[in-house]
């Protein structure tokens, strides 16, 4: 008879695929692990340790020992199983379970989780975004841009109604600033369109396609330099790859939130998603400010008034402030702040100090 010291754990034994169970104990005998009935000497199942499948330890839930014949021994005695595994040099309950135990060292893990979570948000996601941009072949922004322009042409835009002279003046100014951008003049194509329902607007597509609407040109009332300033801002968006960056950042954050959602619960997930949306808005505002500064630099290099784009914001404020539907203003950061930042930055760029210090 197997002595008590050979008993690994007590529990229940199931024949293969059956819910029927008999009270049993797991014993080691003659180098084999066997399930013995509580009363009786005939083993129910047995095999060498390496033939057994023993489920890993999670908390104190029951352990399963599956024999090669498909029968299963189930026990609540986790410690008994772990003692046996450790004695056989099989590492006991394993590293993950060791980490999980409710001991003082968990404080370190909590701190690590917060610190690393912050680090992933601060550096990990931006680094992944850079990698994604780096491996995105140039054909992708090109195709995306062609597709977008086609879609706009089909739905909202119609051919421009500007005179040749108007277009020529803007195109010449545009060529001057585009030549100062690292991508060079050839890196950009300027398009004129009647904006239709879109109204006064200018935008850049990631491949360097720029669109300016007739309505924006009308709004400028002949101030070509101001339009060039707006286009320099759009060149800034293209140079700094803002649209791809924002897309990848949003995708990365959403993905991370979804992956920890199972652990934080759906309500907290909703809160995180809303917070992520607010953060995305702040990134969008930061991108606008970056593009503003790029406009100042390019305009200064090309010998224009570096603050020309500030005149555009003044105009936007004046014209669209009159109307109730101010959807352009709402997507931008505060316009007075933007004007002030542009004026400040232009002083730095042109090397002049602030007027009150002169």
């Amino acid at each position: 008879m197997a002595s008590d010291k050979d008993t690994i754990a007590g529990g229940e034994w199931h024949p293969p695929g059956s819910s029927q169970s008999v009270s049993a104990r797991l014993v080691e005998r003659e180098g084999e692990v066997a399930a013995m009935p509580a009363a009786g000497e005939k083993p129910l199942a047995g095999a060498g340790l390496s033939w057994l499948e023993i489920s890993g330890r999670v908390g104190s839930i029951p352990r399963r020992v599956t024999f090669p014949d498909g029968s299963v021994f189930e026990t609540w005695d986790n410690d008994g199983i772990d003692r046996y595994l450790a004695a056989q040099g099989r590492g006991g309950a394993g590293l993950v379970h060791w980490l999980e135990q409710f001991r003082l060292r968990l404080v370190v893990i909590v701190l690590l989780a917060f610190v690393l979570g912050g680090a992933v948000y601060r550096w990990g996601v931006p680094a992944l975004v850079e990698v994604a941009i780096w491996i995105t072949p140039p054909i992708v922004p090109q195709l995306m841009s062609q597709g977008t322009l086609e879609a706009f042409d089909r739905t909202a835009f119609s051919p421009t109604g500007l005179s040749d002279a108007q277009r020529k003046a803007i195109a010449e100014g545009f060529a001057r600033i585009a030549a100062r951008s690292p991508r060079g003049e050839a890196g950009y194509t300027l398009n004129f369109r009647d904006g239709g329902v879109i109204g006064p607007n200018a935008f850049a597509l990631p491949d360097g396609t720029l669109v300016v609407t007739d309505q924006l040109v009308d709004l400028a009332r002949g101030d070509t330099e101001m339009i060039v300033g707006v286009l320099a801002h759009e060149i800034g968006h293209v140079e700094l790859e803002h649209s791809l960056r924002q897309f990848y950042r949003a995708a990365g954050m959403t993905g991370l939130i979804m992956l920890i959602a199972g652990d934080v619960g759906s309500a907290v997930e909703d809160v995180l998603v809303q917070g992520g949306g607010l953060l995305a808005l702040s990134y969008s505002r930061a991108a606008e400010a970056e593009a503003d500064r790029r406009s100042v630099e390019l305009m200064a290099k090309a010998g224009y008034d570096p603050t020309a784009i500030a005149r555009f914001f003044a105009l936007l404020e004046e014209k669209l402030g009159d109307r109730s539907e101010t959807n352009i203003l709402s997507t931008h950061p505060g316009t007075p702040q933007r004007k002030k930042d542009i004026l400040d930055y232009s002083r730095i760029v042109t090397g002049r100090s602030a007027p009150d210090r002169q």
Binding site: S60, L128, D263
Partner: protein, 363 residues
């Protein structure tokens, strides 16, 4: 803890054996924080294994008649399933971005694929779950999933919630009646009457919330109208009551709709479980109290947010314990005899190795 020892005393009124939940917040805390840490460190890859450990803990602590349920999925299976779904989603979105005419393609494919993925996901979840060494199985198809989850949701939204009980009935019937254990069928048929009775209470709660919001708007009408006409004319002092009422409005909105939703969910849980039978003879039962359930859910969320997530393990264990302790089964005839006859049947055996999880779907 042998089956014979615990079979007797847990039997309550009406012959119901209640389910017990033996998980502990302190124990789950360690599992949870290590899951979160490893998920962050591996940029999300570990989350598949994290899900396995989490589910093994919760299933393994859900105890009926002294024996626990078991979760058998492996991390690699879940990871592969997720990669397939994410990969397909990315490819579709890239195609849509490149070819603007196909901008609706991802939406269409998701609409077509979603029911199939839901059915696969339910089947996967059932097949990786076992009780007393026998696996569950799920035999529902994509058509039923479409009716229950998509058609039901669309009808519910289109009728401003009036047909929600019908959708709930379809979902309960689809999930419940397609479930199998050892080749024997579960059957769920919640009646529309009780569902509508439960719905009416939630509808009234939401209605009261809307009335309060309407009252707040009405009281501030003298300030709101000029704000829309000419925002610059309002003085900063006039802004303060507006901001306070806006916040109050949001709180009332979330509180009333949140409580209405939780009340309804608890009501449907009771009705659906209590209308379920196994093998035509054994009855299931749920008797959660709607107010306790809602209080636990709301206080869980508040405590979790206030502790920056650290009390989430406590909250999860608390909710699981409450739910399971208000769930029971009444067996017809001798329990020991019943479980000596149940054998794993056909397709549920081992075939989960060929399966992938498909769609992450709570089960």
């Amino acid at each position: 803890m042998s089956f014979a020892a615990s079979a007797g005393p847990v039997e309550g009124p009406g012959g119901f054996h209640r389910v017990a939940f033996t998980g502990k917040a302190s124990e789950y805390f360690g599992i949870w924080i290590v899951n979160v840490l490893l998920t962050i460190v591996t940029l999300g890859i570990y989350s598949a294994w994290a899900k396995v450990r989490r589910n093994r803990y919760f299933y393994g602590n859900t105890v009926l008649l002294g024996r626990s349920f078991e979760y058998h999925a492996r991390g690699s299976q879940i990871l592969v399933g997720r990669l397939i779904v994410i990969g397909a989603f990315l490819v579709l979105n890239v195609i849509a971005a490149l070819v603007p005419l196909l901008v609706l393609l991802p939406t269409l494919v998701v609409l077509v694929a979603l029911p199939w993925l839901v059915a696969r996901g339910l089947r996967f979840s059932a097949r990786v779950t076992s009780y007393r060494n026998v696996r569950f199985d799920f035999v529902g198809g994509a058509g039923g999933a479409f009716k229950a989850f998509i058609l039901g949701a669309v009808l519910s939204v289109l009728t401003l919630g009036i047909l929600t009980p019908l959708a709930s009935r379809w979902v309960s019937r689809y999930v419940g009646s397609n479930l199998r254990y050892g080749g024997k069928a579960f059957d769920t048929d919640p009646k529309l009457g009780p569902l509508y009775a439960s719905w009416l209470l939630s509808f009234l709660i939401a209605l009261v919330g809307l009335c309060i919001i309407g009252l707040i708007v009405f009281m501030n009408l003298s300030l709101i109208l000029p704000m829309i006409e000419s925002p610059d004319l309002l003085t900063p002092e006039q802004h303060v009551p507006l901001i306070i009422s806006a916040i109050a409005g949001y709180v009332v909105l979330f509180a009333s709709f949140g409580i209405a939703g939780l009340f309804y969910r608890a009501g449907v849980r009771n009705i659906a479980w209590s209308s379920t039978t196994f093998d035509g003879r054994h009855r299931l039962m749920s008797d959660v109290s709607r107010s306790s359930y809602s209080w636990i859910a709301i206080s869980n969320l508040i405590v979790t947010l206030l502790t920056l997530g650290l009390m989430r393990p406590w909250a999860a264990v608390r909710m699981a314990r409450y739910g399971w302790e208000h769930t029971g089964v009444a067996f017809a005839g001798d329990v020991g005899e019943l479980f000596s006859r149940i054998e794993a049947q056909g397709s549920a055996v081992g075939s989960e190795f060929m399966d992938f999880e498909g769609f992450d779907f709570g089960f």
